[in-house]
């Protein structure tokens, strides 16, 4: 009898412990973490190339992967979350804002659903994308198909974009735009604003249309400047000033700061542009400004 009782008791304890162990995971010994055993994939060109030691203005002096590996990676079906598709999709955003943007219509890339890239002989590389775009003021979203061609060859040419997002543009902003246009035309003094947004991310509600207009005008620059190795966003409007005109046009001079993600540089541009509801934003002049990072006084940009 004693033996039986002892056995049953032991069995019960064993079962309880087995359940307990099963719940908390298999027993393991805590191992002291060692330095990571890193797997190095053989790369024929792992020796870094030295960047040119010239002035940085206008050049991206960032050490990039050897071109051939990048080429191989960014062809065929693309991972929509990886940077090649994301950068190309951002270019589509800049294109849409350049063409369709206004003080009451601002487009943002929301998501890339799928992408494909292929080399086009003697032309460059073409991306085909399915994306979702958000109209940020009205908060509507639409799916778009787009194609981006990054040209190769002599000179620095801008990407060529084709996109169809019909639904988005059917939102009627006419009343608001007309009212704003009238305000710009009839105001006694010419409007002007600085630091949109300010250091705290704040923009006065009355100034928001000027911020939107600057984003649209900047989009033309960002579209022009984009390559497969860049990702642009407008960081801030340093200054926007309405200029007097003798005709129906509403005209602005602005100084914007663009953030380029890959180099992490802040690039200053001066833009001259017009706006009217029927014509949209038209950039008349664009000029990159040299900027001294560490000067005590910023250079006079007027």
């Amino acid at each position: 009898m004693c033996v039986l009782q002892l056995t049953i008791m032991s069995l019960r304890i064993i079962i309880v412990l087995a359940v307990f162990t099963g719940v908390t995971g298999s027993p393991s010994v805590t191992v002291r973490p060692e330095a990571d055993s890193v797997y190095v994939t053989a790369h024929p060109n792992s020796v870094p190339e030295t960047g040119e030691e010239t002035g940085f203005f206008g050049k991206l002096e960032v050490l990039v992967e050897d071109e051939t590996e990048e080429d191989m990676m960014a062809t065929g079906e693309l991972n929509p979350n990886h940077y090649p598709a994301q950068r190309a999709a951002k270019v589509v955003q800049h294109y849409l804002n350049t063409r369709y943007g206004s003080p009451y219509r601002l487009l943002g890339l929301q998501r890339v659903h799928s992408g494909n890239a292929e080399d086009v002989e003697d032309s460059g590389r073409k991306y085909q994308l399915e994306i979702s775009v958000q109209e940020m003021i009205g908060n509507t979203t639409e799916k778009c198909s787009a194609e981006v061609l990054f040209p190769r060859g002599e000179g620095q040419r801008s990407p060529q974009v084709q996109a169809s997002c019909e639904q988005l543009l059917k939102v009627n902003n006419t009343a608001q735009e007309e009212a704003l246009y009238k305000l710009f035309k009839t105001n006694q003094s010419l409007l002007s604003a600085q630091n949109l947004p300010d250091s705290y991310g704040h923009i006065e509600p009355d100034m928001k249309p000027l911020w939107h207009l600057s984003i649209v005008a900047s989009s033309a620059v960002m579209l022009n400047e984009s390559t497969e190795n860049t990702l642009y966003n407008m960081a801030q409007v340093a200054n926007i000033t309405q200029l007097a005109t003798e005709n129906d046009q509403v005209k602005f001079d602005c100084h914007v700061l663009l953030h380029e993600m890959v180099s992490q540089e802040i690039i200053h541009w001066k833009l001259l542009f017009t706006w009217s509801p029927p014509e949209g934003v038209k950039v008349l002049q664009m000029e990159q400004l040299p900027h001294c990072h560490d000067c005590e006084k910023p250079p006079n940009t007027n």
Binding site: C2, V3, L6, T7, S10, I14, L17, A18, F20, T21, T24, G25, S26, P27, S28, T30, P33, A35, D36, S37, V38, Y39, V40, T41, H43, P48, T50, G51, E53, F56, V62, L63, V64, E65, N81, H82, Y83, Q86, K90, G108, L109, R111, M136, S199, Y200, G201, N233, A235, Q236, A238, L257, H259, M261, S263, Q264, E265, I266, H293, D294, P298
Partner: protein, 357 residues
């Protein structure tokens, strides 16, 4: 900050203290002196769990400090590392570190899980690592977008500053950097040439076996980046890093619906060498992540203050997912080891008992 008569401490708790307490606004951006005062106040309010540790100096000779949060058991404990503000202009990051501290201290009061974690691990939180840069970014409108530290350039250079997140000794200088001292990604004159990088290197390096995870907080982009920044290198626990990162992204999405992309820097953003995250992983710290907080470019570095709260809430959820995983993996496994030992002993007793009887 306005003194109030409703007696609340820096964590927003009612206290018995009769001195006038000031309520700290976690949803505004604070200049460095206010953050320093806040750190002192947190220590005063939670002396049993919080101490300050000074662990280095910036180029301009400012003390670099962290808050060490956890129950003092008198024994060596496992640890979690979090740093914010390596890049001066990323103001949402220091805001998040402060919010994180508040949240874990709140949870310590009420949540048994957090109480257990505070017994088992210490949290080391550096609210502003690049103090010189942060202070400079507050100077005026023209300095707001400063990124680097404030050390002077090498001889003959017109520009100042080294990118601290390219300066760590982790395949340093190999890719995604510039050797031009004017560049925003200038990696410095040699690995860990910068005092701020040295501070982290010495403090974490001398305790590397203790650290379960290393989280470095940045903005913007809504990304969770895993090692390594150099595409020729794969972490030995890549699958785990990805799985836990995806879990964190799910946790983030459940808060306010925001999508954070998970992946290595070269896949998802750009290749880069010399990051603090890569250095930490190379030391053997298994779970090393870079958080890139809100937004995706519309406001960028100048995130509006009305987004501080939602940005912090979602990031907290993501960080806690990783931290909880790291903790449970270490401490539940230890419990299972004890169970297995007992099991073996009892089996032995059972067998012996049967034989004897």
């Amino acid at each position: 900050m306005v003194p109030k008569d409703n007696l609340e401490d820096f964590a927003g708790h009612k206290t018995d203290h009769h001195e006038v307490q000031v309520e700290y606004d976690y949803f505004k951006f604070h200049p460095m002196p206010e953050i320093t005062d806040w750190m002192s106040q947190v220590v005063k309010d939670y002396p049993e769990v919080v101490t300050t540790v000074d662990y280095g100096q910036t180029y301009e000779n400012r003390v670099i400090s962290l808050l060490k949060i956890g129950l003092n058991t008198g024994e060596k404990k496992k640890a979690i590392w979090m740093d914010c503000g390596i890049h001066a202009r990323e103001w949402i990051a220091p805001a998040f570190c402060q919010y994180f501290v508040r949240e874990i201290l709140h949870a310590y009061k009420t949540d048994p899980k957090m109480q257990t974690m505070m017994k088992n691990i210490d949290f080391y939180v550096t609210p502003v690592l690049n103090k010189d840069g942060y202070i400079y970014s507050w100077k005026d409108n023209t300095t707001r977008l400063w990124r680097k530290n404030r050390s002077p350039g090498p001889l003959g250079c017109n520009c100042s500053g080294t990118d601290l997140n390219r300066n760590f000794d982790a395949i340093w200088g190999s890719i995604g950097v510039s050797f031009n001292c004017c560049s925003q990604v200038f990696c410095g004159t040699h690995p860990a040439s910068e005092p701020e990088a040295q501070a982290v290197t010495y403090f974490v390096g001398s305790r590397k076996e203790d650290f379960l995870c290393f989280l470095t907080i940045h903005s913007y982009g809504q990304l969770l980046l895993i090692p390594y920044g150099n595409p020729n290198y794969t972490a030995s626990n890549y699958d785990e890093l990805l799985k836990v990162g995806l879990g964190a992204a799910d946790a983030i999405r459940s808060v306010h619906g925001m999508n954070y992309t998970v992946g290595t820097s070269p896949d998802v953003l750009y290749a880069n060498a010399g990051s603090s995250r890569d250095w930490a992983r190379l030391q053997g710290i298994p779970l090393a992540y870079t958080f890139e907080l809100r937004d995706k470019g519309i406001f960028g570095f100048q995130l509006p203050e009305d987004q501080i709260q939602p940005a912090c809430e979602e990031a907290y959820s993501g960080a806690m997912h990783i931290i909880t995983y790291a903790h449970d993996k270490t401490f539940n496994a230890a419990v299972a080891t004890a169970a297995a030992t007992l099991w073996t002993m009892l089996l032995a007793v059972g067998v012996t008992g049967t034989t004897l009887m």
